[in-house]
């Protein structure tokens, strides 16, 4: 939630339930409580993400690729490449020098290469929380090689490494490299040139090992954005402001 000067007033996160409208309302109420506002004081709401069309009070539904680009540009105005890895999919967005979307690539057919890969494998096999993954990966001495093609095959590989007595740190670093390898390959297939500055967003960017893996793989500087889970929401809020001002202008 932002004001007319684009200052962040509140932000909230929740897991999406089967009733996506209700989840949207929940997160809105959480944000309203946080900043002490009422829904009547909200001038415009834009929804984004896979459930964007389910939110009934939304003034406009905007795809998350557009919102991620807008949100990231707000914080990094010169950004040319956005790598967004969320729980459900991963995307690479290339922007031109004017900030317009040049092209994008998206993986949505397989959990490998998404945050779900960590969710499925880290807790169940390694007994490690998502927050611990990044710091542990930085302690790796000899990262394992893990399949970048399939979460299920990766699971078998991890079990083999564990039975060989390999260190958790090396396995985690291997998992992170595997995600980075898959996402970079997806970008190359789409002829994305990974122009700098490169910014990492989405929940996976909270893992400090991930930007480093991308940087090593690309031989370029890769920065993780602050509050990476909110970038898309920030873009949606900026879009809402734009929409509101257009309406105001039309009514004036």
């Amino acid at each position: 939630m932002i004001d007319e000067d684009e200052n962040i007033l509140a932000s909230a996160l929740t897991f999406t339930s089967y009733d996506r409208n209700q989840s949207g309302m929940e997160v809105l109420n959480m944000a309203l409580d946080q900043c002490g506002k009422t829904s009547a004081e909200v001038d415009c709401i834009v929804s984004t993400g896979y459930g964007r069309r389910a939110l009934e009070i939304s003034c406009e539904a905007v795809p998350e690729i557009i919102c991620h680009a807008l949100g990231t540009q707000k914080l990094y105005p010169a950004v040319r490449t956005i790598i967004d890895i969320g729980g459900q999919d991963s995307k690479i967005i290339a922007l031109d020098e004017k900030g317009m979307i040049e092209k994008f690539e998206m993986n949505d057919k397989c959990a490998a290469g998404t945050g779900r890969f960590f969710e499925v494998l880290a807790g169940r096999l390694l007994n490690v929380s998502l927050d611990e993954l990044g710091p542990l990966s930085l302690q790796a001495k000899n990262p394992c090689t893990i399949s970048s093609m399939c979460t299920i095959f990766a699971e078998s590989e991890i079990i083999s490494y564990l039975s060989e007595g390999r260190a958790k740190e090396d396995i985690i670093a291997g998992m992170i490299n595997s995600i980075a390898r898959r996402v970079v390959a997806m970008g190359k297939t789409g002829q994305i040139q990974f122009k700098e500055p490169i910014v990492l967003s989405g929940g996976v960017a909270r893992n400090i090992g991930v930007p480093r893996a991308f940087a090593d793989m690309l031989g370029k500087k890769v920065e993780a954005i602050d509050n990476p889970q909110l970038t898309g929401a920030m873009g949606a809020a900026l879009k809402a402001k734009d929409l509101f001002l257009k309406k105001e202008g039309a009514n004036a």
Partner: protein, 385 residues
């Protein structure tokens, strides 16, 4: 327009029943798989042709997995899949199924049809199209087919009769050309969702009826107002085919997101309506020359990417295209390779391209990601305009 589309749709739906009736009366039913097979010749022999190009549903490609690898494109797999599922009313009554041997996908499904003991006739279409002997091979294949049809029907394919049906095709193509030209307007009166169905109906319906309806439609549309917003993004769709029934993507683009597909570069499931067939001399040779040498080469022809890109550039210029949608069938590897070149060439022209890859799952699932892709692509084009 809706009334005529409905009439054509009804006529197309009645066609399998008409074929059954025709068969009872002693006529032969011949299915064929694409534009390299002259349906006009089948009509001229007194038989009933029917285009086998149905797709867009995920179950039929799955139904052939008992016999075929998954790694064949879903349109090829659908050719046998509908039959195996008992959802194809025409294949069981077909006296002959003529398949154009353009690539390994059609080749393998042809073998499956043979394995299923269906009466199959193959027409060779060599990809090395710039050699004289390859054209002669294709022309000889057509002559062989002519003899097979004459033998099957007991009727000689006489010049005058063949010419009559070539005439209907030219009438259909002329009407489609005129309707197509309306899509060059700032705000076209029809989009791809209508235009591709007109093509499909023109294959499925009796040719004289199809020609008359298309001519009537043009008269109704020529001064009709546009049905889109005047600043709607103008899209070119390219790839192997929009099969009969595979309408999800054009419908989504035009009805949900307010963009318009103004032109297409598809190899199958659409008439090569921009080319007129010669009606004098050796009609079969004329047909072969038009399909093999004159019209835009299909992707499987080698080497043809440069000619195809030159044609695409003409379309981009003439129809004032804002973006290209590459609609690819899963596991269609040579289309995938062409897309790689196109991405580079279109990038140099600063024209955006969106690649969609389908195994026909869109009609049942995966709508969320599909919508995100399309909406983001169209939004980025709107931002550029």
């Amino acid at each position: 327009m809706e009334k005529i589309l409905r009439e054509l749709d009804e006529a197309a739906k009645k066609r399998p029943v008409q074929l059954k009736e025709a068969k009872k009366q002693g006529k032969k039913v011949i299915q064929y798989t694409g534009n390299f097979i002259p349906a006009e010749m089948i009509y001229a022999a007194g038989a009933e042709p029917y285009l086998m190009c149905r797709g867009g549903e995920p179950e039929p490609p799955e139904a052939v997995l008992e016999y075929m690898l998954r790694f064949m494109n879903p349109l090829a797999r659908s050719m046998a899949g509908y039959h195996l599922m008992g959802l194809d009313p025409v294949t069981p009554i077909s006296d002959l199924i003529v398949t154009q041997q353009t690539d390994c996908h059609v080749g393998r499904v042809t073998e499956l049809l043979e394995f299923l003991k269906l009466p199959v006739h193959k027409v060779g279409v060599p990809p090395d199209w710039k050699k004289e002997f390859t054209f002669e091979y294709y022309y000889k294949s057509l002559n062989k087919l002519k003899r097979r049809i004459e033998e099957l029907t007991g009727n000689e394919i006489a010049g005058e009769n063949f010419k009559k049906y070539i005439g209907y095709t030219n009438r259909i193509n002329r009407a489609l050309r005129k309707i197509d030209a309306l899509r060059k307007k700032d705000n076209p009166p029809l989009g791809e969702y209508e235009f591709i169905r007109l093509n499909h109906y023109s294959f499925l319906c009796e040719p004289q009826f199809a020609a008359e309806k298309l001519e009537e439609l043009y008269e109704k549309l020529r001064d009709a107002p546009g049905k889109f917003l005047s600043d709607a993004p103008r899209i070119l769709i390219a790839g192997r085919a929009l099969a009969i029934g595979d309408y999800i993507v054009p419908k989504l683009i035009e009805e949900e997101y307010g963009a318009v597909i103004v032109t297409e570069m598809l190899d199958e499931g659409i008439r090569p309506f921009k080319w007129e067939l010669e009606t004098e001399g050796d009609l079969l040779r004329n047909y072969a020359e038009t399909m093999y040498l004159k019209k835009t080469p299909p992707n499987i022809f080698q080497p043809a990417w440069e000619e195809r890109f030159a044609f695409m550039k003409e379309l981009i210029r003439d129809y004032r295209v804002d973006g290209v949608l590459w609609y690819q069938l899963c596991f269609d590897e040579i289309y995938d390779m062409e897309c790689t070149c196109l991405t580079k060439w279109l990038g140099e022209m600063d024209l955006p391209l969106l690649k969609l890859e389908t195994s026909y799952e869109y009609s049942r699932e995966a709508m969320g990601p599909l919508k995100t892709r399309i909406e983001s692509f169209l939004d980025s084009i709107k931002g550029r305009k």
